[in-house]
């Protein structure tokens, strides 16, 4: 009768039945020959050889054996992991941390630095800029020079020009508040040169450019915000600067030229002054983009363009004598060296973390394998082949790797979502950071590397396993493994220390930058951007009367202490202008520091809180038409141009040449220097002129927190002109903080990475020592039974831990010193070999190591010798 079976007998069941049948028959024969039952069984077993070995030999001849076996190994591995939940959970967690963070950083690096720009053959795209030889800085290009460049050069397939303006105004319906957006005024070949198609409609045609048709191409962002992303927006009109423009197309979000903030494009010819521009050589408003011919390098093009520039210097010495040309690959322009370097550094840091995590997992795996020596020995004794055992251990590690990688991917997914909120907006292409195929590929690859590096240890142990000794004294063969394990721990400490050094350096750099005095009290200062359109404010008088009224009305608001305005409260990085000082060679000299000339309203310095050192502030009479020109200069400017003299009463003028009418401006005041760009950029020379220009940053000193006044200020401006778009409105300290976003991000990232690495290294050290104490229980028990001092035992374990920490730490310090020069350029006022930072980092690592070593040391000291010896 066949017994009821729940499943079909497997190949193994059948094999077992067959061999057992053989055995039973043999026993029966032996009994028939007269042997007693137990003796017959004993002899049968002896003569037939090991049952398990026979089975193995039979399995070996099965076709595709390994596939079935692999599945079985994985099942077995999972089962044995289930028994050891804590171990499995720790390995999974650590792998997930290592892989998850690495994948996240890789996604950032990939999106921002590695991925090519989303244009046709992006490597061929370069920017051409005019370069001022004396000032050694870039400048805009005149249309006449551009045309000469284009006709004379052979290196370029095509060349186009554009202009960025930030004063364009879009007013949409009555429901929407007017808004200021950035626009690109572009030449006819602009879109076709870049080679990116619109996602709806079409781009501007040559005919439209030549006829100066009022047409506009929208960015996807503007299209979605204003038109809800519907295609019938094409063909509608959009008022730009008070004039209706026909919407002809929409460019995708990934199209970021001239800048990421560009929201619309119009043909440059819509500007009233366009027709005359082509003949003007003495203007510097245009930016030039070129596409290199296939096979031409940027260097070759640069050599050719410099020759052309030299020719133009000879042909037009009066205007061009100071002009050269520079070629910058578009990619470099978009991404920038600092971003690239910062992100590579972040990636290197996360690789350090991954090394720590891998070494940690390696340590866990090898100590587990050591604990399982007996189990493995039993299996070898029962007939498991070594190869089989090694394969099985690899399968177990493989299962761990699968789980760990999956968890790592999940973590990366979360972190990338988090990053899209948390990463600084200043990071180029930040919105393209995504959890995508390359990220997954990297995760799988990293997991594989980690598994190969740290997963083979247990298998090697199995391969070298000495069965007899494994059954014998427990700890004799563990010396070699321990050495291996100790190196893994030292590696973790080394990698962690490098990260901690980096974190401390960046933290100090960030603290130093954010602790700089901007030169004015930045709290309780509100800045509002206003640009008056020509449509409502045709002349200077209208502009002046608007701003005067704005000063009065806002100044009367409760909570407002003073009001002023300046052309740009924060200037663009690299901004540089020239002044001419009487008695000095005209224009800017090569050795001169950077200088910015700004226009300010009466009361600006008082509102901003910039201390007046000498002389007087601007007064209302300085703003009257026909008033004699006056200047207020910064301390640094006064010292530069009139060292050791009194600056008051000196004569100067803005620009590169002395005044044609002989009307010099008089310096009437000297103010304290203040930081114009960001806290991490030293103040530059400043010259201030009294006037009311069209575009100003209103500067409002408040007696209450600045943010609370935003709504009231907005309301006052609305009350004066409903159609006037209000630009950015923010507190000064908020904007200062924002300008340090990248530094903050870098330093927080490193802090998190180094904290995780330090924790992992500490856990690794703790696990190693705890394991060794467990192995040496007997020895330690005997020692204390023989009267060893508890303190001596504590010292023994602690010394071991600190020795490892010192070895790992020294390697880490050497590594940190070696890479220090790479990060120097990313630090603010902090030497990359700053001894204090290294000391702090080393101390932190030693303290953590001492704690990690102290716990097992105390446990060793508390061992009860009697209990241990009885075991």
């Amino acid at each position: 009768m066949t017994p009821l079976r729940r499943r079909r007998p497997s190949a193994d069941d059948r094999l077992d039945a067959e061999l057992r049948d053989h055995y039973e028959r043999y026993v029966a024969d032996l009994i028939a020959r007269g042997l007693a039952d137990p003796e017959a069984r004993r002899q049968a077993r002896l003569e037939l050889g090991g049952l398990e070995q026979s089975k193995e030999a039979c399995r070996d001849v099965r076709p595709l054996r390994w596939a079935g076996e692999f599945a079985r190994d994985v099942r077995l591995g999972l089962r044995s992991l289930k028994r050891d939940r804590l171990f499995a959970a720790s390995v999974t967690l650590i792998l997930a941390l290592g892989i998850g963070t690495t994948v996240t950083m890789f996604s950032v690096l990939n999106a921002v630095v590695l991925r090519p720009l989303p244009y046709t053959r992006p490597d061929e795209l370069v920017l051409l800029t005019t370069h001022l030889i004396a000032q050694n800085r870039p400048d805009g290009t005149s249309m006449a020079n551009f045309l000469d460049w284009r006709t004379q050069s052979r290196a370029f397939a095509s060349m186009t020009f554009y202009r960025r303006t930030s004063v364009s105004v879009v007013t949409i319906g009555a429901a929407h508040a007017p808004e200021r957006v950035q626009e690109g005024l572009v030449g006819p070949e602009f879109f076709e040169l870049i080679g990116s198609g619109p996602i709806a409609g079409r781009v501007i045609t040559h005919d439209e450019f030549n006829r100066a048709d009022p047409v506009v191409v929208l960015s996807e962002t503007l299209w979605r915000e204003r038109f809800g992303g519907v295609t019938d927006a094409i063909g509608r009109t959009l008022p730009v600067d008070g004039r209706d423009h026909l919407i002809v197309g929409v460019m995708p979000r990934t199209f970021e030229l001239p800048t990421r903030e560009t929201r619309l494009w119009r043909p440059l010819s819509v500007l009233p002054l366009w027709p005359k521009t082509t003949e003007i050589r003495n203007s510097d408003q245009y930016e030039v983009l070129g596409r290199l011919n296939a096979g031409v390098t940027a260097e070759e093009a640069s050599a050719e363009m410099r020759l052309i520039a030299a020719g133009l210097r000879d042909a037009y010495p009066a205007i061009n004598r100071n002009l050269d040309v520079r070629i910058i690959p578009l990619f470099e322009h978009v991404v920038g060296w600092r971003t690239g370097r910062g992100l590579w550094l972040g990636f290197a840091a996360v690789l350090c973390l991954l090394v720590t995590a891998s070494a940690n997992v390696g340590g866990l795996l090898s100590s587990r394998a050591a604990r399982r020596q007996r189990e493995l020995a039993v299996r070898v004794a029962l007939g498991a082949g070594r190869g089989r055992l090694v394969r099985q251990l690899l399968a177990e590690t493989g299962s761990l790797w699968l789980i760990g990688s999956a968890a790592g991917l999940a973590l990366a997914f979360l972190l990338i979502r988090l990053l899209s909120v948390y990463a600084p907006r200043t990071l180029p292409r930040v919105e393209q950071i995504a959890f995508d195929a390359p990220a997954v590929a990297v995760a799988v690859l990293l997991g594989l590397v980690v598994m190969l590096v740290c997963g083979t240890t247990p298998a090697l142990i199995a391969a070298k396993l000495d069965v007899t000794s494994a059954f014998g004294v427990r700890d004799q063969s563990s010396v070699l493994r321990a050495r291996h394990h100790e190196w893994l721990v030292a590696a973790q400490i080394a990698a962690a220390l490098m990260l901690v050094v980096g974190a401390v350096l960046f933290a100090r750099s960030f603290v130093r930058a954010s602790g700089e005095d901007p030169g004015y009290p930045a709290d309780k200062l509100l800045i509002v951007r206003l640009d008056l359109p020509r449509a409502g404010y045709p002349d200077g008088a209208a502009v002046a009367s608007f701003f005067r009224e704005a000063h009065d009305r806002i100044g009367r608001l409760p909570g407002v202490a003073a009001v002023g305005a300046i052309t740009d409260f924060f200037i663009r990085r690299n901004a540089d202008q020239s002044v001419t000082v009487e008695g000095r060679e005209a224009g800017r000299q090569e050795s001169d520091p950077r200088l910015a000339t700004e226009v300010v309203t009466p009361g600006y310095f008082r509102a901003a809180g910039i201390h007046l050192r000498h002389g007087r502030d601007f007064e209302p009479r300085d703003y009257e038409p026909g008033a004699p020109p006056v200047f207020i200069v910064s301390d640094s400017l006064a010292q530069r141009f009139w060292p050791g003299e009194h600056a008051l009463g000196k004569l100067m003028v803005a620009g590169d040449s002395p005044p044609r009418d002989g009307q010099w401006g008089v310096v009437v005041g000297v103010v304290r220097d203040f930081r114009r760009e960001s806290l991490d950029v030293a103040p530059i020379l400043g010259a201030y002129i009294p006037s009311f220009p069209r575009g100003m940053d209103m500067t409002i000193r408040t007696s209450v927190p600045a943010e609370t006044l935003m709504a009231a200020v907005r309301q006052e401006i609305r009350a004066m002109d409903r159609a006037l778009p209000i630009g950015r409105i923010a507190s000064a300290d908020g904007r200062l903080r924002q300008r340090l976003e990248t530094r903050r991000f870098e330093s927080q990232l490193l802090a998190v990475f180094s904290a995780i690495a330090l924790l992992l290294a500490a856990a690794g050290l703790y696990a190693l020592l705890a394991y060794q104490v467990a192995l040496r229980r007997r020895e330690l028990g005997i020692r204390s039974a023989l009267g060893a001092d508890r303190r001596a035992i504590v010292r023994l374990v602690l010394a071991k831990g600190l020795r490892l920490a010192t070895i790992g730490g020294s390697i880490g310090l050497i590594g940190a010193v070696l890479v220090a020069s790479v990060i120097q350029s990313l630090l603010y006022q902090t030497p990359s070999l700053d001894v204090l930072s290294y000391g702090i980092a080393a101390a932190a690592v030693l303290v953590v190591a001492a704690i990690a070593a102290g716990l097992p040391a105390l446990r060793a000291a508390r061992l009860d010798p009697i209990a241990v010896l009885r075991e």
Partner: protein, 115 residues
């Protein structure tokens, strides 16, 4: 007491197994018994060599197997020679005979020279 066992030359066990099965289906134990009987205890195979050989021949299609009730009332796995197995056996036997004849001839001629 069994006589000292001789090691079988590589590959000959397959031939012997096929030959024994040419007379009719048998189970593994019976095959071992038969080999031992016919060879007068010279050929003794252990489980560890017999069953891998049987399974290999089965996988290669030279044998088929089925579980059948035996006279003792226990299920046993009976192996039967297939047509391909018979052809294989004939080929192997011919080549074995050729080889042993050749070896025999060499041994004989060498004996002639030395004597």
């Amino acid at each position: 007491m069994p006589q000292p066992k001789s090691d079988l030359p590589q590959g000959t066990l397959d031939l012997l197994v096929l030959k024994v099965l040419a007379l009719g289906p048998l189970h593994g134990y019976a095959i071992a018994q038969r080999l031992q009987q016919i060879s007068r205890d010279v050929v003794q195979v252990t489980q560890g060599t017999l069953y891998p050989a049987l399974h290999r021949l089965e996988h290669r299609g030279f044998l088929t197997a089925e579980w059948k009730m035996t006279d003792t009332g226990r299920d046993a796995k009976f192996y039967r020679l297939t047509r391909a197995g018979r052809a294989h056996m004939d080929r192997e036997q011919a080549s074995w005979l050729r080889l042993t004849n050749a070896i025999g001839a060499i041994l004989k001629s060498a004996e002639g020279k030395t004597s």
